[in-house]
Symmetry: C2
């Protein structure tokens, strides 16, 4: 990796599931790279160091990025702007900055406000990987194997910085695509943010029923899979909902309209309409389910 991506020191700000897994992947492929971890919770950083995920740690982002060739901002999307503000004046010359946020519009706006003259070195990124678990304990080097990483470079972004990130993610086992910022946020609202909101809403809806304890006793495998993403980190998903509010509201409006139509078909006992919708959904779902297996989604 040192050869391919020319890194001697990488700083990861936010050593959780994603940051920790990327550190592990780099460590496995390029043991010579020094990995500095940074975060607000000292016990988590100490644990990451015990696990060998990072070489050393700092709690001050401005300190942590000094001398690093690559800075990965892997904090929840609501905290990214503060990190940008803290590091902007302390980045080494030529250092590449990237993030792993699940939304990109708000991150790019934050970068424009906070990274100032270093915008050309910023490569917005989003590995579509994750599990419902969080924290460095849940991290593993293979998390990105076969997953898709979306980069949304700006007009200002230097091409070599993009290529550096492409090389890094490929070494971690991912395939890399580039996409427009706005389009990224629409696509992810559809396939990730809306499903998370639906899963959270359903579980909460049932949990507030009188006989909820009993109800969950009869929930089986299908329900368990359907609601797995409702076990995701609440603060992280609050941030995502707020950060991608416009695209979320578009998708919510679309889905609610479609659900109202399905409800109407049930009310009218319109079996023909129901089977048409179900069959179309099954056909599409069967088709994409057989495509290359990707580990998981954030």
């Amino acid at each position: 990796m040192s050869a391919a991506v020319s890194i001697s020191r990488m700083t990861i700000i936010g050593v959780g599931l994603i940051g920790g897994s990327l550190a592990r992947a780099v460590r496995r492929n390029s043991p010579a790279v020094e990995i500095v971890g940074c975060g607000r919770h000292l016990p988590n950083l100490q644990r990451a160091q015990e696990l060998g995920v990072i070489d050393r740690h700092e709690t001050d982002p401005a300190q942590a990025v000094q001398g690093a060739d690559l800075v990965v901002v892997a904090v929840p999307v609501g905290s990214i702007e503060g990190v940008f503000a803290a590091i902007a004046d302390n980045l080494a010359p030529g250092a590449v900055v990237t993030d792993v946020g699940s939304t990109k519009g708000n991150v790019v706006e934050a970068a424009r406000r906070r990274l100032g003259g270093r915008l050309a070195d910023f490569v917005p990124g989003h590995p579509i990987a994750g599990t419902e678990r969080s924290g460095v304990e849940a991290s593993f080097a293979e998390l990105f194997h076969g997953c898709c990483v979306i980069l949304t470079p700006l007009a200002e972004t230097r091409r070599p910085a993009v290529e550096r990130m492409q090389a890094l993610w490929r070494l971690a086992g991912a395939r890399v695509v580039e996409m427009d910022v706005r389009h990224h946020d629409q696509v992810l609202a559809a396939t990730s943010h809306l499903p998370h909101l639906l899963a959270y809403t359903l579980v909460d809806s049932l949990a507030r029923m009188d006989d909820s304890e009993e109800i969950f006793n009869y929930a089986a495998g299908g329900f368990r899979d359907f609601t797995r993403i409702a076990s995701s980190d609440p603060a992280l998903w609050r941030d995502i909902c707020l950060a991608n509010r416009e695209a979320m509201l578009d998708m919510l409006q679309r889905f609610s309209g479609d659900l109202a139509a399905v409800t109407q078909a049930v009310r009218e006992a319109d079996g023909e309409r129901l089977v048409q919708i179900f069959a179309r959904a099954k056909e599409v779902r069967d088709r994409f389910a057989t495509k290359g297996k990707v580990r998981s989604e954030e």
Copy 2:
């Protein structure tokens, strides 16, 4: 099994995932029981016989039930009434009749209309097991291991008939509970029927977007799990929606109201409200996910 449940001939009408899996479980535990398969599609019956799931087959239900101690009606809920009508006058004295339908109110009504004097021998049942796959090829003897079977006996049902079904399902590896018909339909609307409807609606909603092909390219593990149940049999689920219409509409109204409230919170950027809902859902979901692992759900 012969000793425990005193069966010498069992007829399974509808040799699909559920009927086929029950046949396999009985075959494994009691090879002496003769298993007669019945269905409308001859090739499926022939395949079931080739696979050793059944000993012989009939396409006429009235013929198929002759001399059977136990008749399992394992056809989609929309087809159960017709089967009851066809077999009522041909049941052997003392034969127990059961079904495996995912809804019970409509099945009980059909039994009252069609089984006449044999109502005392009817034990409505619902194994909460299944996968999104269907057909005898997908069946396997372990499907019911650790799963829950709900029996909803009527006031008229003979107690020995209920006990016979309890013994049968326990031999297949399931735990058995009894429940009121109406309560069964409410519980299943919440944990199974509504989630299926949401999964179908979401996939169809995305499939009708302009860039749907591209969108599904970026759908990963979380989405795959969330939508797995949208790969279920459309006709089966149409039947279930129609059969359990009242309870479904109650749940749909409840869910839609809650989704509107969540949408409002997103619109108002009310992060506190969102994190409250998400955290409550995560807590409940984490709790039931750690309970005894049940295979899957229909």
